[in-house]
Symmetry: C2
Subunit: 344 residues, 2 copies
Amino acid sequence: MSTRINRRITLAARPTGAPKVSDFATVDEPVPAPDDGEMLLRTLYLSLDPYMRGRMNDVKSYVPPVRIGQTMEGGAVSVVEESRHPEFSAGAVVFGRTGWQQFAISNGKGIRPVDSSLAPISTALGILGMPGLTGYVGLLDLGQPKEGETVVVSAATGAVGSLVGQIAKLKGCRVVGVAGAEEKCRYAVDALGLDACVSHRDADLAGTLKDQCPDGVDVYFENVGGKVFDAVIGLMNVHGRIPVCGGIAHYNDTGPPPGPDRLAGAMRIILTRRLTVRGFIIFDHHHRIPDFTRDVSGWLREGRIVYREDVVEGIDNAVGAFLGLLRGENFGKLIVKVSDDPTI
Amino acid sequence: MSTRINRRITLAARPTGAPKVSDFATVDEPVPAPDDGEMLLRTLYLSLDPYMRGRMNDVKSYVPPVRIGQTMEGGAVSVVEESRHPEFSAGAVVFGRTGWQQFAISNGKGIRPVDSSLAPISTALGILGMPGLTGYVGLLDLGQPKEGETVVVSAATGAVGSLVGQIAKLKGCRVVGVAGAEEKCRYAVDALGLDACVSHRDADLAGTLKDQCPDGVDVYFENVGGKVFDAVIGLMNVHGRIPVCGGIAHYNDTGPPPGPDRLAGAMRIILTRRLTVRGFIIFDHHHRIPDFTRDVSGWLREGRIVYREDVVEGIDNAVGAFLGLLRGENFGKLIVKVSDDPTI
């Protein structure tokens, strides 16, 4: 067992602006053996998500940053290869925050079984995992869309946004997505069933969005920031809601962007239109997991929603795929297939 | 009757930046006589409030702007001089949005009686009126302060802020005010009972505020914007609430302020600390008037809260007083005494 190698990706340097390949390092070590009460996990699928960019900065956020030399953090679906833990047997498929590596030792903390009967196990990283829960809670609990209202979702084909848009459609809303590439916009309409999708590269984004939202915007699901926020906020209706899930346009900022200062204008609209702008992090909402799992797995089974994965092969491609994610190059939930899935 | 003169103040020009005396005009006309179903009101007290600055701009807001040549809008306490209205008798004291003038004809719409047994009738413009209701609803319903939490209130000695701070103290919070002049800061602590009050002129506002909020800030009652917002938002605790009531620092802005752009930084804090930022306009919350009137008049009667009025004599001084209000020169609720109060 111990002659096998565990390859892991560590943080080598804190990036300034956009991360580079040299900000990461690859470390090969013998696969460790589990002690009593521990188990050895083999990573099947590693999730790559925009929030990971924030963990690379030495800045107080909602959790401590990754330290230099530490394995990059991330959620993964794994199989138990060897267990000396009373609750997990060899062969079980589990989810855990085991990081960017091929193997991990775990004492079971934060590890939960993945139900392979619901859907392919990789969905535990996407539509049935953290991104799906984020979209479900952010839209339903914070956005509170009502039938006939208009919902705008940015990053509309991403892991979170694609579920937001589809749930909003199920709730009877007009739904307008914002995405980058033309191909993504087509997918948002044709596959996700959105009423329209606008490219953020549109030279008159605000005007095009306004045309697509003739009754204004009641819920803006914010993933992006920057010019998309600017274009949408001017269209918000009185008593509109803005769940703030992310702001990927700014994750590589090295300081406040140049002027003019848009804050006072945003606050004026928040005041006069009586908007509710609410930030959320999904770990505050884990009590919703049972409802989420029941609803979303049901919609999947009934064919009422779809999902799309962008699967990259091998841990060695994780860094390149992550850098592409920050440039919006993925199309669907970005996943690294680290080793062979025993369930398929 | 018709030989008497009604002096009214109209909007002469839309201001660019800070309003000037020449943006207003004084018009003298014979006092009109009421028709059947109408009454003649004599203005006793006129309210001057920051929101009036917004009404001078030709910009869509939550209500249409004042037109050029139109009497400036505003709430007032008046006495019914002559009534041909079935529900109001001569001598009754009433509140209505009758504007900057000495007399007004009304068909009764939006007119409500003022209960002179609760407190001096001028309080219907302040602590028992719209500003008081704004503070009550904004703090209790939107801010939702809990015992032991820290509340920061800007414009802490103003018509709204002075009630916010006192109610927060009644609810068992640590309360830190922000005001301008040293005299106002002293009043906030000595008379309003706040734990501390910081001047926004402090060269290290963020540092001084941090010293006064050792456990961070749970509720920031936002009246001001600008550098006060900047100083407070960095101190907000996870799950903090920011009711947005106004932003007087920006009311004279002629466009977006120069950079850097503070919006992305504010959104990052809203996200990572899971803040709720919620704009409100008091006319959405009129269902709370019975609770508000019962609670605040009760606290007044019991001596648990105090209020302060800054009374200017005569309609001819309204413009100067209003310009001073926008510079923060008033101390307490700004009121113009337009004619003699028959109740005192």
